[in-house]
């Protein structure tokens, strides 16, 4: 078990290294190849050549790409000093560099956005799991009935709806026409829990609807497969009550495959729900990334990509560990 864990951790670190290397390569090498100078992005177009050269030297843009990547990695682990002669700026670990657009440290900027994305993703996850799994199980148990057909039609519609459309539609209806919800931006939980809740309720529902639809379809398919297994028939033949057959025998193995999907989905969302955040003006990681991309703010793009990849890799790891516990057939070795 310990050996397995260590091997998985090493794998996770390698994956993160590859992701950063590829991202780093693309965002620092392509602009260089097509002739745009990162120092110019950083300092602005009208600066004089001496200032540009100074910035280049200080930020290390003149170094070969591999050296720059090495320094970037060192910054994450141990922090780094940007120096040009006597002009030294210290960036404490985990250092992700300085934003080209605002000259602020990237790490605190992203940490500021993280709670927004966390609130959005976790709240929506609770909703979609409950809604999706309940619908799927109900549909499977009432297979072929009106309930099943209605639920599956809704789910099919749900997976076909783009979130940037449902989001706009929902805010048009509930905020502007019915005026059930206030217009306004995200309010931190620590500031006012009530307003935090109302500011997030629409994004939660919109995001959860999309995922709930997918989960309902998956749950139904898995449950139907499980209900057809021999051991379920055996359980019934033993004379167990239907509730025990479903609750203790069928549900467990019917829902196990969902754990993998859930881990991946949540991991992907924690790295920034770009579309939802952009539709609802939530200033989370995804929103930050989008703004950064529009301004060619490479260090922020790199930072968000790294965090996003970290969540995905971490979620994968957790899923695999949890899997061994909920499904005894899987031996971790």
């Amino acid at each position: 078990m310990l050996a397995y864990l260590i091997r998985r951790l090493i794998n996770a670190v390698i994956t993160l290294l590859v992701v950063t290397a590829v991202t780093f390569g693309i965002f620092f090498a392509i602009p260089k190849a097509i002739g745009s100078d990162p120092a110019l992005l950083y300092i602005g177009k009208q600066s004089d050549p001496a200032a540009i050269a100074g910035i280049s030297a200080k930020m290390g843009f003149d170094d070969p790409i591999v050296v720059q990547y090495g320094k970037f990695l060192k910054g994450i682990v141990a922090g780094r000093d940007y120096a040009n002669g006597p002009d030294v700026t210290h960036c404490p670990a985990p250092c992700l560099g300085y934003s080209f657009a605002t000259d602020q440290e990237v790490t605190p900027l992203l940490l500021e956005d993280l709670p927004v994305t966390l609130s959005l993703a976790l709240g929506a996850a609770v909703l979609w799991v409950i809604l999706g799994v309940a619908t799927g199980v109900l549909s499977a148990l009432r297979r072929g009935t009106f309930v099943d057909r209605a639920a599956m039609t809704t789910a099919l519609a749900g997976v076909s709806l783009p979130i940037y459309f449902t989001g706009l539609l929902a805010s048009a209806i509930f905020v502007y026409w019915l005026e059930w919800l206030p217009q306004g931006n995200y309010v931190p939980f620590t500031e006012n829990p009530g307003e935090w809740f109302t500011s997030l309720i629409l994004p939660w529902i919109t995001l959860a609807f999309l995922f709930a639809a997918t989960y309902a379809r998956l749950t139904r398919a898995n449950m139907l497969e499980t209900l057809g297994e021999d051991y379920v028939r055996t359980a019934r033949a033993k004379g167990l009550r239907e509730r025990t057959v479903i609750g203790k025998h069928a549900l467990r193995s019917g829902l196990t495959p969902l754990v993998t999907v859930f881990g991946l989905d949540l991991g992907a969302l924690l790295g920034g729900a770009v579309l939802t955040e952009s539709v609802f003006n939530l200033r989370g990681l995804g929103y930050q990334a989008l703004t950064a991309i529009r301004q060619s703010d490479l260090p922020i793009i790199l930072g968000v990509t790294l965090i996003a990849a970290f969540f995905i890799v971490f979620a994968n790891l957790v899923v695999d560990l949890v899997y061994g516990w909920i499904d005894p057939r899987v031996r971790l070795a």
């Binding site: 602009p31 076909s160 783009p162 940037y164 706009l168 770009v274 890799v313």
Partner: protein, 285 residues
Amino acid sequence: MAGAIVVIFLILVAILAPVLTRLFGHPIDEYHTDKIDPTLGTPIGRLGGISWDFLFGVEPQSGRDIFSRILYGAQTSLSVAFLSAFVSTILGSVFGLMAGFLGGWVDATISRVMDFLLAFPQLLFAIALLSVLPDELFGLGDRWSRVLVLVGVIGFFGWPYIGRIVRGQTLSLREREFVEASRSLGARSGRILFRELLPNLAAPILVYTTLIIPTNILTEAALSFLGVGIPPPNPSWGGMLSDAVTFYQIDPMYMIIPGGVIFLTVLAFNLFGDGLRDALDPKAR
């Protein structure tokens, strides 16, 4: 069945967009400022200016014909979706077959690459990549250059989905007797791969290709919505929705029409794909 009919209808609409525009619409770039309320910037008349002359109404401010822009949007949307599905299918089938059939280090490498790509913040990455890639390629003009770039990016990130399935199927098929028989007759690997295994994989490949088309439509629309897809003034569904953000409180039809069209298109392709899967693999019903 209904899905298949709508899919065929949409493909025809996309191909015939220039003809249909000439018959029932107005050129996509023609401004009709006389249809616009000069103070609000919104279309004159109810429901976003829908009339016999402008079947889907006009755009706020510019007064361009939404009907013809939707038709041309279908062209871009469907070509991106089909071509990138094609790219994903080719890459996924080739690598999936190789991984499943050859095993060993080839399998280990390909599987690792697939895991890696699936573990990638894809949308984020696609946005970033699209924003650094040039707008003009091979003198195709900005519309088709962008289509090509989108096909490359969406197609590339999509292949592991196909690859995983093909690999899994290949793993189970290669142990079957007919493969063994063929090998004992002295067939080379190439022949076993393409003449024995591939025909047996055609059904699942077809089904999953059909099922990634709607995902691709949504991705293309999302990227255009975020401003890194098809550049304006070229018409695209996602681009129209993104313009609608400013107007949806006063002119909701401008949001509902492209959104509804995306929804119906994706729904039709999903229905079609599900139907195809049920027909080819009755067990999954």
